[in-house]
Amino acid sequence: MSLPKNIFGARAAILGGLAILTAPFLWTRLDPDFATGFVSLRLVPENGIQFLSVVVPAALVALAIAGLGRLWARYGSSKPLFETASHRLFESPRAMAATFAALAAAGFVMSGKALSLGTFVCIHMMLAIGLNVTIGFTGLLVLGYAAFYATGAYTFAIAAHALPVLPTWAALPLGFTVAAGVGFLVGLPCLRLRGDYLAIVTLGFAEALREILRNLSVTGGDMGLVVPMQARIKAIGPVGQGHASWIAAVGVTLLVALFVHRLYHSRIGRAWIAIREDETAAAMMGIPVVRLKLLAFTVSAGLAGTAGAFFAGFAGFVDPSTATFEQSVLILAMVILGGIGSLPGSILGAALLYLAPTLLRDWFPAISDYRLFFFGCILVAMMLFRPQGLCGSPRHKLELEGAS
């Protein structure tokens, strides 16, 4: 409908509008006078120059990457590569064992920093894989996913205090069961609601849960809980604590991924996708829609709980920040960046989004303040230009084109 010159005009209008709107923020400074209580405004170029000196080069780099990405998209597609590789991996026990052994062995030569970073990446992979079950497979919008993460973490921490004999490995079944139970109870009334309402109710649940965690004494209030030593991941023989955590993290992540992979490639997984694609048609195929949604919700919550309990056993403490909206958004962004509904996508997205800001901060400490800004930009740009994510299929793109 719109001609090329129109598009150009529209872009110019957007840029011009942005320049005008952001002008007061960029080029002026507020000077409060506490004696009189008035405030005055002063023109200062430094603010804006500093901001633009970071953002403009970053934008240019992004444009260059986007250009490369387009070339890649034209001359080769990412999807078969990752999807096939992951499928082969999870279908072959031998490949799984080899991967596990290789990664575990790599721990011997990894630095302590790499081990800790790797363990955190694994935890976020579990979370992304878990959230993908609801958002990606079943199409249920869950915005307060971190609540289940916190549930798992706190469950284990509290249980370890109550039962001084609780072994570390108990974290996994305990976290899964309790979080899944909570997920079931939250899902039961919510799943009758429309998609975006579900998003809000889960978000509200997460906010309320965070408040409760901050207020109760059994959860240690805002300071959180320290997990007793006996329940933490410990060094075993020549394998140091960091390394042991890394091995455990790799193992659990592979198991979680295998679990989801196998569910996905079964009648349950097919039913989930069918529900996402067309609820009515799915029901006509004999699929009990509400029950399967509830199952997806429960499994997903359980996986978050597993990750949470693992975190508690690894980090040795839990606090209410595990249930923040920011945490939920981070996990959501991982799923979306990787590609909604794609298992390797979740894994890739988690790795990228967890590592990128950390590495950016180490390599370019000067712009570490800008990382969230860029994070937001990436979310918006991703939705506009590649809504299917890195590994996703282009379905959402088609929908968009159909709509315009």
């Binding site: 790599a106 030569v109 970073l117 606090d319």
Partner: protein, 368 residues
């Protein structure tokens, strides 16, 4: 099985490349604390202070013949990030850490340092728990909340002769900690805490809480929290017609508080260290800080500066970076700093907590 071996070998090769570390010829000191986000401003100050001290030492030739490399990490004021930062610092091979800022970050992070056997000096975490866990290489260069809350409660009961006070906190390790100590001391002395309540950190409209304070019949309010909420809280108290005293801890000792409450603020009583900034010996530091960072030094900058100086001096004196020896040295004697003479007790706390009561006079903080 052949494939498996290939993969394994490759993994080891890659790992070996990654793990290969170059020979160290610097002494690495970790500087950790919140540097971004809402608390970023106040949290950056001590880190810059330490940075300044390290620069001075380097200019003088370093310590033990080694140049000192400051490894600065942002924990974003979040506990889990603090753990990650701590692990990173340990991995980076730092010999000692100055940090963290928030008590909520120091608490979990110090566990990591403890396990790794690294000396930690916090310039600002005042929660008692930080040094209460028997970690013999954890030190604190500032006062403790119990000392602070204690001082404030005694002042309220003895000097202001208050008998009924409402205690409000911001639900953080710091705010709630100091508030609880205040309550304990105040009640032990025979006072009555008429209301004890927490506020969400993003909350800025306190009118309902203030009504509850008025209902409780409190004569004064003790506020355990930070200046960004303390200022509006004070203003809204006064707007609601509450005339009683407003007490608080070091969290509200910040120039920003005065900007918010204005020059005419009255009956504000803050516990804070003595006026180190006004001393003659602090002048060069303040000037150097301003020259280097283009800003006036914030309240905690001087603590960061002192912490670094004391730490480096202890390393110099111990003649080694070994944590046990450095800890021993730190405990064994008295250290001179801009914040006065520091002596550490067995727990790692300052033996003499010098909290004094400050107030606002003519648009500036002044010792009462």
């Amino acid at each position: 099985m052949h494939k498996f071996r290939t993969i394994l070998t490759a993994a080891f090769a890659v790992g070996a490349l990654l793990g290969c570390q170059k020979k160290e010829n610097t002494l690495k000191i970790g500087l950790a604390g919140v540097q971004t986000g809402p608390d970023g401003e106040i949290g950056t100050a001590p880190i810059r202070g330490s940075q300044l001290a390290i620069d001075e030492w380097n200019a003088k030739g370093g310590v033990l013949g080694l140049q000192i490399e400051a490894v600065s990490r942002d924990d974003e004021g979040k506990a889990n990030q603090a753990v990650a930062v701590a692990q990173e610092l340990v991995a980076a091979g730092v010999k000692a850490v100055i940090g963290h800022f928030n008590s909520g970050c120091s608490l979990p992070a110090s566990e990591v340092y403890h396990q790794a056997g690294i000396v930690q000096i916090t310039p600002a975490s005042t929660n008692p728990q930080v040094t209460e866990r028997g970690f013999n290489q954890t030190f604190r260069l500032c006062g403790r909340d119990d000392q602070q809350g204690d001082v404030s409660a005694k002042f309220a009961f003895d000097s202001l002769e208050l008998s009924k006070v409402a205690v409000i906190h911001n639900k953080t390790a710091y705010g709630q900690g100091i508030a609880e100590v205040f309550r304990k001391t105040f009640e032990a002395k025979g006072g009555n805490v008429s209301l004890f309540d927490g506020l969400a950190s993003e909350e800025m409209d306190f009118r309902a809480t203030i009504s509850a304070i008025q209902k409780s019949g409190a004569q004064a309010v003790f506020f355990g929290g930070m200046y960004n909420q303390g200022g509006p809280f004070y203003n809204q108290l006064r707007q609601a017609g509450f005339k009683g005293a407003f007490l608080g801890g070091d969290g509200i000792y910040d120039g920003e508080l005065i900007k918010t409450v204005g020059a005419k603020a009255d009956s504000v009583f803050i516990t804070f260290g003595p006026d180190f900034m006004a001393t003659e010996s602090a002048k060069p530091f303040l000037a150097a800080y301003k020259a280097k960072f283009g800003q006036d030094a914030g309240g905690y900058a001087i603590y960061g500066y002192d912490a670094a100086n004391i730490l480096l001096e202890a390393i110099q004196k111990a003649g080694t970076t070994d944590a046990d020896k450095v800890s021993q040295t730190l405990r064994s004697q008295s250290w001179k700093g801009l914040t006065g003479d520091a002596e550490f007790d067995a727990k790692g706390d300052l033996k003499k907590a010098n909290y004094v009561i400050w107030t606002i006079r003519e648009g500036a903080f002044a010792v009462r």
